[in-house]
């Protein structure tokens, strides 16, 4: 059976242990989370929104959705993929060390990928890049070859296109 990728938006109570339960649900079954981000949505109501990307067969994905919906602190689960196209964005910071040719080449590539230099020394740059996660993947692959020594990526923020309100 083919493996599909899904993006779920999960509205949860913002209380200690919620993240541990959601993550544990996946870990306990050996299901994979390729990206997970958390946002406080409403401080007064104490609500947070977890955006997570996972992949699996359609049956596994349906199972995951049902399990999430049954977790106690979960208010609602929306499958972003089912709402048509969505906006997916990620940000990354990369530290690249190098001299001479590699240094020049890293700046050239950064320019093409619209990455920005946010810190520079005589033998290093820190680049900031944002865009679709696949765009960042390609940039990271190239920077690995040019002396990348540290990286921090945020994971994916996602929101459905169009006026719908997913989570209430």
């Amino acid at each position: 059976m083919t493996t599909e990728q899904r993006t779920f938006a999960v509205l949860v109570d913002n209380e200690p242990g919620v993240l541990a339960r959601v993550v544990g649900l996946f870990a306990g079954r050996g299901y994979n989370i390729s990206s997970l981000t958390v946002t406080e949505v409403d401080h007064e109501l104490g609500l947070s929104r977890i955006t997570l990307e996972t992949s699996g067969t359609p049956i596994v994905l349906e199972h995951v959705k049902n399990l999430l919906q049954r977790l106690v602190p979960v208010h609602s689960v929306a499958d972003l993929t089912s709402f048509g196209p969505s906006v997916r964005r990620e940000l990354a910071l990369l530290k690249v060390s190098g001299v001479d040719k590699n240094r020049v080449e890293s700046l050239r590539i950064a320019d093409i990928f619209k990455a920005e230099v946010v810190d520079a020394g005589l033998e290093h740059f820190i680049f900031q890049i944002h865009g679709e996660p696949e765009h960042i993947d390609r940039f990271v692959d190239l920077m690995r070859q040019l002396g990348m020594v540290d990286i921090s990526r945020t994971g994916v923020a996602a929101i459905s296109r169009g006026p719908e309100v997913l989570l209430k």
Copy 2:
């Protein structure tokens, strides 16, 4: 005792359940995680980097660091704060519904905050913004008053300024 904020970078084996153990360590003790992001650092070596922001008294923070260091799949823990200034960046997507004055005002504010429109309809915009998390906080506060109906934030990516390599 005063509460301080810390940013930790944690190098871990990229295996199922690692995230659950790290998050569980905090949840079990009622310690707070204000932001958590995960990056695959090296696919061949199977290493990931968890960047997490937490706050507490100096004693609690020292305790957290020790607990993290003793977790089995953890290779190393670096306190980014102790390396001097670091680059901290986050990205957010916001859906704002509105007509007339609110609609015009939301565009005006977005312009000031250097947020970008990534989707638009007759009664909604999707804005993308990135920068320091405090910059995003201020933008979100304003957009809440102008009809924000959905939000997804990534959490903080962070890297030390200067040429040091934190995690080996």
